[in-house]
């Protein structure tokens, strides 16, 4: 069997990376949105994916999560050595992939706390961990609520129902912190947040990452660079028209802040 150089690199990356995306092409409604993405993320790394509106940033997050609205036509994605694209949405989540959504839906009548406890214990069970007792669960939730500056009343309400944009974002981070993922993808978490809320959200996400830095990776998808003041990425990628057109260090983000996507 003849292996091309890029395939050889890809297979080597699959083995060591937390996330290895190789030549990913994605369509929705007959239109190609992602046109050959290559990206490797190792444990302990923070990556920022930047780009103008419509460049395909959010699509990438949805494809990783398994959104059925998108079709992968070419390419592969390996997560912790496993074929991510072959896994069901919930299998990806249980394996440690968390995507904080830009527009999380409202689910009327579903108590936020009860939902979260069900999710946490389902995920823990799938990982061979014991379920959290009610007391332990509550004490962890309270710690995170404090960190995020969320009133406890928020978790007694229906899931996201009537939440402001900022409250929904904080609620996403609360879930992320409780679910203890390995790969955390924040999809435009900064949109709709005021400066103070942004700082709380960013610090909490960073804290979760730092807690288990040797195992975790953080991907920040954003249009603006202001969140990168709090979460400093080692790698910044610029997405334009479905392709990564530039990769570099924090300097790339600084240039974008100054000059725009141009």
């Amino acid at each position: 069997m003849v292996e091309t150089a890029s395939e050889a690199i890809a297979s080597a990356e699959q083995a060591t990376a937390l996330l290895a995306i190789h030549n990913l092409h994605v369509q929705t409604a007959e239109r190609e949105i992602l046109k050959g993405i290559h990206l490797t993320i190792r444990p302990g790394e923070i990556h920022a994916i930047m780009g103008p509106n419509g460049s395909g940033k959010s699509t990438l997050a949805h494809v990783l999560a398994g959104n059925p609205g998108f079709t992968v036509t070419v390419g592969s994605v390996f997560f912790n050595g496993n074929d991510l694209l072959a896994m069901a949405i919930e299998e990806r989540a249980r394996a440690g992939l968390f995507v904080a959504f830009q527009y999380p839906p409202e689910i009327p009548g579903v108590n936020n706390m009860q939902y979260l406890r069900t999710a946490v214990n389902t995920v823990r069970k799938s990982r061979g961990q014991s379920e959290l007792s009610a007391a332990e669960f509550l004490s962890r939730v309270r710690t995170i609520l404090k960190e995020l500056g969320m009133p406890e009343e928020m978790v007694r309400r229906s899931l996201n129902e009537g939440f402001s944009g900022g409250e929904k974002k904080k609620n996403e981070i609360l879930q992320m912190a409780m679910l203890e993922p390995r790969l955390m993808v924040l999809d435009e978490i900064d949109s709709g947040l005021d400066v103070d809320a942004l700082e709380l959200v960013a610090r909490c996400a960073l804290r979760v990452f730092e807690d288990k830095r040797s195992e975790r990776s953080l991907v920040v998808i954003t249009h603006y660079s202001r969140i990168l003041r709090y979460i400093k990425p080692q790698y910044v990628h610029v997405l334009a028209d479905g392709k990564i057109v530039e990769s570099g260090g924090i300097a790339v983000a600084e240039r974008i802040e100054e000059k725009g996507y141009g």
Partner: protein
């Protein structure tokens, strides 16, 4: 997405077994002679036989209604048996046929009295004390046992089978029977009035708050038999009672008819809370078999400041046709209707309520949640009528439909008829599908697809479930989950 989940799961109707018990059953057919026989078998007073015969003559002149959004082959009323009871007569529970006891045991219905656990440490579920439930168990056409009667009798509360009430309290039966649902009200109420066999009777004296849930459990066992029970609840001045009915039937290929009548009377300041968890056999995945549940339920808020609340969770039956209603006659009286109706496979439900405002300052609330899955058809039909006399009457109606999959259907027929210019009537309605976005989101947090569907549907029903007594709210939630799993065969 939803279809896939539902199909993968088993589940099944848990209560489809048949009890092999010796019964005496009247031959099929309905004539004046049948009615005389039923009345004689039950040793009834003359007034009741006369009443039955009047009902029978009225019924003969009436036509089966076909305005509901349901379809079924013609019913042959002469091929049904109108009376069936276990052969062995009971003097006490100890003498009961073990098979009968076993049946209710399998259904999870306690026929022996549990020790009173209220106020005992540890006897709490979710910080609410666990209270016992008094049960009247009706097997085919007769009541087999009623528990906690003595405890209740000390407070002056009468809780017994209808037959016994006829014997022991004929004056109450005579005064109130047919006073809310008259014989000629509709085709099925006339039929019931002619042939009803048993049911429950409750009387709560003035100022008494009934300390436990009262419940009747209906079980149809015999094949080819209809069940026609009659329930009469009278709450005297300033009293309170919470009553629950549950029902199941064996799995059979033929359809069976259940045509009950329930009458509630709330006198001044009284509050009756009536809850139903209806789980008759719904038929199989191809739509074969199942119960035709054609029921007339109505409450009369007779006195000022009285209140009647209907809560129903309808998951069973091949066809449901019922409209638990309130006549708000007393000034300041309140009527409430909270409903979850689920139809899966080929089930059909046409259900809703009527709120008839007659008194001043009367209030009514209607919260209806319809869920259709598979080929299910779900219809809300409601009437809010405000008479000229009903000064300052108010109604609030919310009517939500949830559709799962793309073969199910939901209909809504709300009618508002306000004759008083100062009436305030609000109506809100929504129709939605369980959105793929919601399921995708919940699965991204690690929930399986079926758990995600359950969560969304339970959330949808929350406003109604919280009206149920707690033990039954849990049961209703489980029932709904099983029904969801079976919805697409």
């Amino acid at each position: 997405m939803v279809d896939a989940t539902v199909a993968e799961l088993g589940g099944g109707y848990k209560y489809g077994f048949v009890t092999d018990i010796e019964s005496e059953t009247l031959p099929a057919g309905l004539t004046e002679e049948t009615i005389r026989k039923i009345s004689a078998l039950k040793d009834e007073p003359e007034f009741l036989l006369e009443w039955r015969l009047r009902a029978f003559r009225a019924w003969q002149q009436m036509k089966e209604p076909h305005w509901a959004e349901v379809t079924y082959p013609p019913i042959d009323y002469q091929s049904i048996s109108y009376f069936s009871r276990p052969k062995k007569k009971l003097k006490s529970l100890e003498e009961a046929d073990p098979k009968l006891l076993e049946t209710f045991n399998r259904l999870g219905i306690p026929l022996t009295e549990q020790k009173f656990l209220a106020n005992v440490e540890g006897a709490e579920v979710n910080s609410r004390p666990l209270t016992p439930v008094a049960v009247d168990a009706v097997f085919d056409s007769v009541s087999v046992v009623t528990t906690y009667r003595e405890t209740l009798a000390k407070l002056g509360i009468i809780f017994c089978s209808f037959s016994e009430a006829v014997r022991e309290h004929p004056e109450l039966v005579r005064e109130y029977l047919g006073s809310v649902v008259p014989i000629r009200d509709n085709f099925f109420s006339a039929l019931n009035s002619a042939v009803f066999s048993d049911g429950s009777f409750v009387y709560v004296p003035p100022g008494v708050r009934c300390p436990m849930e009262l419940s009747t459990y209906f079980r149809i066992n015999s094949a080819n038999t209809g069940q026609f029970e009659r329930t009469l609840i009278i709450a005297d001045k300033g009293s309170y009672v919470s009553y629950l009915e549950g029902c199941t039937a064996p799995q059979r290929d033929e359809n069976q008819l259940h045509a009950a009548v329930v009458e509630l009377i709330a006198l001044e300041g009284a509050h009756i809370k009536y809850s139903t968890v209806q789980n008759w056999y719904p038929g199989d995945a191809e739509g074969r078999g199942g119960i035709y549940n054609f029921v007339t339920k109505r409450g009369l808020c007779k006195g000022a400041y009285s209140r009647i609340s209907w809560t129903q969770v309808e998951t069973g039956s091949a066809i449901t046709w019922k409209y638990p209603s309130c006549i708000l006659k007393g000034d300041h009286s309140r009527g409430e209707f909270y409903s979850v109706a689920f139809t899966g496979n080929y089930q059909q439900a046409d259900t809703g309520t009527k709120m008839i405002h007659l008194g001043r300052n009367t209030r009514s609330t209607i919260i209806s949640k319809g869920i259709s899955a598979g080929h299910g058809r779900n219809t809300y039909r409601g009437l809010v009528r405000i008479a000229q006399s009903a000064e300052n009457a108010r109604n609030y109606t919310r009517c939500d439909s949830l559709i799962l999959g793309d073969r199910a259907a939901a209909h809504t027929y709300p009618v508002i008829d306000a004759k008083n210019p100062r009436a305030q009537v609000e109506h809100e309605a929504t129709t939605s599908k369980v959105s793929d976005t919601q399921l995708y989101f919940l699965r991204q947090r690690g929930l399986s697809e079926e758990d995600a569907v359950h969560l969304v549907v339970n959330g949808f029903c929350k406003e109604v479930f919280r009206e149920l007594p707690m033990e039954f709210a849990v049961e209703a939630q489980k029932l709904l989950e099983i029904s969801l799993e079976d919805a697409n065969g």
